[in-house]
C-alpha cells in the first residue's frame, strides 16, 4: 500500500502530504476539488509506467491554505516550490478539474519546466455563452450525481454513502467542507481568475481530455482550451465516451490509455 509522505515548504508554512510511487519518468498528478482519498487504482496503474507524485493540495489533507488567501499566484508558487523540494525538474504534469486549472497555471508560469501537460476537464475558464455548473451551490448528493455520466455507477454510490461510524461521518463532512472551502479560494464564484489571458504562455505539448457527458464543465470548454493554447506545439483534444466530470473514476481504462499513449509517444 502506498503511504502518504510529508514534506515541509517555506519554513513550515506548508506541510505537504503526498504519494510517491513507481519508476520511470516523473509524472505529477494534481487532484480535483473532490480531493484524493487514497492512491487510487488509476494512480497505481500510472505508477507502473511513471514515477507518480500526487500531492494533497492545501486544505485537502495538506495544511497552510490560509497562507494562500485567494491568490492563484500563491497556489502556483506552492506547486513549484513543492516540485523544487521533491527535486522534480521537468515533469509530465497531469491535473483534473481544479487540479487541471492549477496544472495549466503552473505551466503558464514556468513554461519551460513542463515536459507534457495533460488537462482532464480542467476548471479555470468561464464564458457566459456556455455557463459551467456551480458545484458550490449543490448539495453533496446532487454534486456527486452531476459528476458522473451514470449517477448509479459504483464510484458515484461510494461518494454518496457516508461512513457508517458517526465519528467518521462527521470527519467526512468536515473534510468535504474544508476541501470545497479551499477550492473556493480559487474557483469562487465561477472559476475565472484570468487563466484565459495566461494560457498563451504554455509551451508544452498538451492533451485535453473531457468526459462527453460532463455536466459540471461542459465539453465545449475543450475547444476553448484548444483555441487559447496558441503557444503549445501541439494540442490534442480527446473526448471520453460515457464519462462525466469525474472521468478518471468513471472511465478509468479509457482515460489511462489516452494519458499513457500521450505521455510515452
Amino acid at each position: 500500500m502506498t503511504v502518504l509522505k510529508t514534506i515541509s515548504l517555506r519554513g513550515g508554512d506548508f506541510n505537504v502530504k503526498y504519494y510517491r510511487e513507481g519508476t520511470g519518468e516523473h509524472l505529477v498528478f494534481l487532484h480535483s476539488a473532490g480531493g484524493l482519498p487514497a492512491f487510487t487504482p488509476e494512480l497505481q496503474a500510472l505508477s507502473k509506467r511513471f514515477t507518480v507524485s500526487a500531492p494533497l493540495l492545501p486544505g485537502f489533507g495538506s495544511d497552510g491554505e490560509e497562507h494562500l488567501h485567494e491568490e492563484v499566484q500563491k497556489l502556483v508558487f506552492w506547486g513549484w516550490d513543492l516540485l523544487d523540494a521533491l527535486e522534480i525538474e521537468r515533469p509530465l504534469l497531469v491535473g483534473h478539474s481544479f487540479g487541471g486549472m492549477l496544472a495549466a497555471e503552473m505551466a503558464a508560469t514556468e513554461p519551460r519546466r513542463v515536459k507534457k501537460l495533460v488537462l482532464m476537464a480542467p476548471a479555470g475558464l468561464f464564458f457566459e455563452e456556455h455557463p459551467t455548473a456551480d458545484p458550490f451551490a449543490m448539495t453533496p448528493d446532487a454534486l456527486a450525481k452531476a459528476a458522473f455520466h451514470d449517477p448509479q455507477c459504483e464510484a458515484a454510490k461510494a461518494l454518496t454513502t457516508p461512513p457508517a461510524d458517526p465519528a467518521a461521518a462527521t470527519e467526512a463532512i468536515v473534510a468535504r467542507v474544508k476541501a470545497l472551502a479551499a477550492a473556493g479560494r480559487f474557483l469562487w464564484p465561477n472559476g475565472d481568475r484570468g487563466l484565459n489571458e495566461r494560457l498563451y504562455r504554455i509551451k508544452a505539448p498538451t492533451l485535453v481530455l473531457w468526459g462527453q457527458s460532463d455536466r459540471i464543465i461542459p465539453p465545449v470548454y475543450a475547444n476553448e482550451f484548444r483555441r487559447l493554447l496558441v503557444g503549445a506545439p501541439s494540442v490534442k483534444v480527446k473526448a471520453i465516451a460515457a464519462a462525466g466530470h469525474a472521468l478518471f473514476a468513471e472511465q478509468q481504462q479509457a482515460a489511462l490509455d489516452a494519458i499513457v499513449a500521450f505521455c510515452t509517444n
Partner: protein, 412 residues
C-alpha cells in the same frame, strides 16, 4: 432593558404557492415576482411603521442589510436610516448593520455611519455583521474562505478612520489607501457604539467579547435558537472572566399582541404562516457556502437557521406550533408580559429587538401590535436589570435642546 423595534421589510405579496413552486426566497428568486408599484408603497409603508415605533417610545429602531432577498428588502440600510433620522427625534438608529467585508474601501461605511451619527445628533449604533452566506458569497460573489479576514480588516480600518486625528496610510491586504482622512467625524466619541449581529459562530463570540461590543442573536426561531446561541455566548463571557452584563447581549423576538390570546391568533396567524412558510424558504445550497463557517463552528455543530432541512422542519407548522415553540411570543398583553419577561431573564437579554411586522402583516395590524406592546407590555420590562447593571453600549446623543430640528435647522 432597552426595547428596540426591528423591521425586516419583507415583500408582502409572494404568490400563495411560493414555497412549493419556487426554489428559494433568497439568491435566485425570480425578479418577476417583484412589482415596483407595490415596492413604492411598501417602502413608504415600512418607513411609516418605523417612525410610528419612535412615537410609541421604543428606545431604538433597527434596520439591516440583505441582497437578492424577498423577506428583506433592504440592500442599503443606510438609506433607510437616513430617511428615519430626519423624521424621528428620540429613538436610536440601530443599523445592524453594514456587511463591511464587501465594501472597498470600507471607508465608505465609516463615512456614511459618521453622516448618520451627525444627522441624528449621535443616535447611531454601528452594526458590523460578518455577513450571511446567501448575501455575501452567493449574491455578491465574495470568496467564503476569506470573508472573515476581509471583515476583520474592514473593521480595523473603519475604527482607525474614526479615531485617528491625522491622515494616515492604510496598508491592508484587501484595502490600500494612501490618504485616509475622515474629515467628517462622528458626533459620538470615540466612535458610535458597535454591535455585532451574529448567527452563532464560535469565533465571533470571542471576537465580540474581546472588543467589548454587543453581540446580537438575530434569529426567527425565538427562544429555541436564542438559548443555544445565548448559552454559548455567556459561557465564553464567563470563561474570559468578564462581567455578565445583560446589556452585552441583543436578542430578536417575534412578538404579536392583541386584546386576547384568541384574538391574537385571529389577527396574526395567517401572517406568521406566510413568514415561516414563504419568507424563510431558503434553499439548503445557499444557506452555508463551504468556507463560510470555520472548522471550529462546524465541529461545534452550529448550523445556520436556513436551508431545506430547516424549512422542512417548519413546513406545515401552524399558529399553535409557533407559539408552543416560542418562535413567537403572542397573545394578550398579560400572556406576552409573562412569557417575554421569562425569556428575557432566562437568556439575560439587555437589548431586546422586537419584530412586530411579520411576513404579510398589513400596516393597520403592525400599528395595533406595536401600540399594544408599547402601552401594555413595554412598561413591565423596562426596569429589568437597571438596579444591577449599567448599559455601557447604547448611543450617547447630544442633549435634546442642542439638537437641530428638521425644517428649522441653522448652523452657527
Amino acid at each position: 432593558m432597552k426595547v428596540n423595534w426591528f423591521h425586516l421589510m419583507p415583500y408582502r405579496f409572494l404568490p400563495a404557492n411560493f414555497e412549493n413552486d419556487y426554489h428559494s426566497v433568497w439568491v435566485d428568486i425570480p425578479t418577476g415576482l417583484f412589482d415596483p408599484m407595490r415596492g413604492h408603497n411598501l417602502y413608504n409603508e415600512f418607513l411609516d411603521e418605523l417612525e410610528f415605533a419612535d412615537k410609541m417610545g421604543f428606545d431604538g429602531i433597527c434596520v439591516n442589510e440583505h441582497h437578492a432577498n424577498a423577506y428583506g428588502m433592504m440592500p442599503s440600510p443606510n438609506l433607510r436610516a437616513a430617511a428615519i433620522a430626519r423624521r424621528t427625534s428620540n429613538a436610536n438608529l440601530i443599523v445592524l448593520g453594514n456587511s463591511i467585508a464587501m465594501y472597498n474601501p470600507p471607508l465608505r461605511v465609516a463615512e456614511e455611519f459618521a453622516m448618520l451619527d451627525l444627522i441624528s445628533g449621535g443616535r447611531l449604533v454601528a452594526g458590523f455583521p460578518v455577513g450571511s452566506s446567501p448575501d455575501d458569497n452567493f449574491a455578491y460573489g465574495f470568496v467564503p474562505a476569506t470573508l472573515r479576514e476581509r471583515y476583520y480588516e474592514a473593521h480595523d480600518f473603519i475604527k482607525r478612520a474614526w479615531i485617528e486625528q491625522e491622515p494616515f496610510v492604510f496598508n491592508g491586504r484587501y484595502n490600500k489607501v494612501r490618504y485616509t482622512n475622515m474629515f467628517i467625524r462622528p458626533l459620538q466619541k470615540p466612535h458610535p457604539p458597535i454591535w455585532i449581529p451574529g448567527g452563532g459562530s464560535v469565533e465571533t463570540w470571542d471576537w465580540t467579547l474581546d472588543h467589548d461590543y454587543v453581540y446580537c442573536a438575530l434569529s426567527y426561531l425565538g427562544y429555541e435558537y436564542g438559548k443555544r446561541v445565548g448559552s454559548g455566548y455567556w459561557e465564553r463571557c464567563a470563561a474570559k472572566g468578564m462581567d455578565l452584563n445583560p446589556y452585552r447581549f441583543g436578542y430578536l423576538q417575534l412578538i404579536c399582541v392583541s386584546e386576547t390570546d384568541a384574538q391574537a391568533e385571529k389577527d396574526y396567524a395567517e401572517h406568521l404562516e406566510y413568514f415561516y412558510n414563504k419568507c424563510v424558504h431558503i434553499a439548503e445550497e445557499f444557506a452555508d457556502a463551504p468556507g463560510y463557517r470555520t472548522e471550529a463552528t462546524i465541529r461545534a455543530g452550529l448550523r445556520g437557521q436556513g436551508g431545506n432541512a430547516a424549512t422542512m422542519f417548519r413546513k406545515g407548522l401552524k399558529w399553535k406550533d409557533f407559539v408552543d415553540r416560542a418562535y413567537v411570543i403572542a397573545g394578550s398583553p398579560a400572556t406576552v408580559r409573562d412569557k417575554l419577561s421569562w425569556v428575557l431573564k432566562d437568556l439575560k437579554v439587555g437589548q431586546l429587538m422586537a419584530l412586530q411586522q411579520i411576513g404579510s402583516m398589513p400596516k393597520h395590524l403592525v400599528l395595533k401590535n406595536t401600540e399594544l406592546f408599547a402601552k401594555e407590555v413595554m412598561p413591565s420590562i423596562k426596569k429589568m436589570w437597571d438596579e444591577e447593571w449599567e448599559d455601557r453600549w447604547s448611543p450617547r446623543p447630544i442633549p435634546a435642546q442642542q439638537r437641530a430640528i428638521a425644517g428649522r435647522a441653522e448652523a452657527r
